[in-house]
Symmetry: C2
DNA sequence: AAAACATATTAGAATGGTTCTAAATTAGAA
DNA sequence: TTCTAATTTAGAACCATTCTAATATGTTTT
């Protein structure tokens, strides 16, 4: 499995980056970060808590929120707020954008070679037209995922 | 003012579209819709309520939420969930995308002639790679608005 | 190694935006 | 005008997120 090596590398590099910013690594922080690196389901806080409950049975939700805030500040994780009031989280290694199912809420990664150039084009237009100082770009495509198309008899 | 004519036209057409779908028009609904068409600040529910309180002093928040849901179902309004837990709303006449200030929360429209083609390119990639049935696309550029750049002494 | 200090974690309370509920009102059809 | 289904309303309920203050842990200093 080549993914494992990549994910180990990502974990090592992320921890180094965090420490370089003078922030402590704790067992809680490392386990939450590892969960985010190894799970690509764009989990909510509740999903993260359930996913690591065997390793950290007494983990407080406050710690998850605090850790995520730290990871966002360190530009390792992005937030994906949704219409249902919750926020989902994504370890943002390789630039990509998202397809979101309006029926089941699933968030699917879309990797496109041209995406960085497209994002740059949109950012340049924003800079020129609005004068904003740009820090990041987010693209979300709404729709119905293949599984829900079947469920709802929308396929073919 | 040429905007006024456009906005009146948008109001008329929107009401026609709603009625065509068999939905009743009430004073509350018309006033909320008119507010959304004539204000481009991407307001929250609370901002909408404050903005029309002279016309509708007893307007319930439930009615605003219900009306917005109806307008979203009728594809006249889009929702912009944000990281602070709230949702902001946008009458979505001409396709465009948004710049969002991380400091003050302001949402600025960006109109770009090439945007519809770019959105179509991203949607095609999503269809091909993920099999989603696409219903809409959203682009959000994060950054610091010109006013906040001055406040924070980030300008020049 | 021990003490002192700074930082992080925890359980539970507080907050606040959104949704729900049930009674009163109203729009539009007949 | 009468009738009925849809809509509005005030306030309660819900639930994700933030806050609080006590406890625990890590880092640095002696
Ligand atoms: Mn992702
Ligand atoms: Mn807009
Ligand atoms: Zn789905
Ligand atoms: Zn600003």
């Amino acid at each position: 499995m080549d993914n494992l090596k990549t994910e180990n590398t990502q974990l090592t590099h992320s921890i180094k980056k965090i420490k370089a910013n003078g922030v402590r690594i704790t067992p809680q922080r490392e386990i939450i970060l590892e969960y985010l690196i190894t799970h690509h389901i764009h989990p909510s806080v509740k999903t993260i808590q359930a996913g690591i409950s065997s390793k950290l049975p007494n983990l407080s939700t406050a710690t998850i929120y605090n850790t995520i805030k730290m990871l966002v500040d360190n530009e390792l994780v992005i937030e994906l707020p949704n219409k249902d009031g919750g926020i989902r989280y994504d370890y943002f290694g390789v630039p990509h954008f998202h397809a979101i199912c309006e029926n089941c809420g699933k968030i699917t990664d879309v990797f496109l070679d041209e995406y960085p150039q497209i994002a740059e084009e949109l950012e340049k237009a924003t800079r020129d037209k609005s004068g904003y100082l740009i820090t990041g770009t987010k693209v979300e495509i709404s729709g119905i995922c293949p599984e829900c198309q079947k469920k709802l008899h929308l396929d073919k």
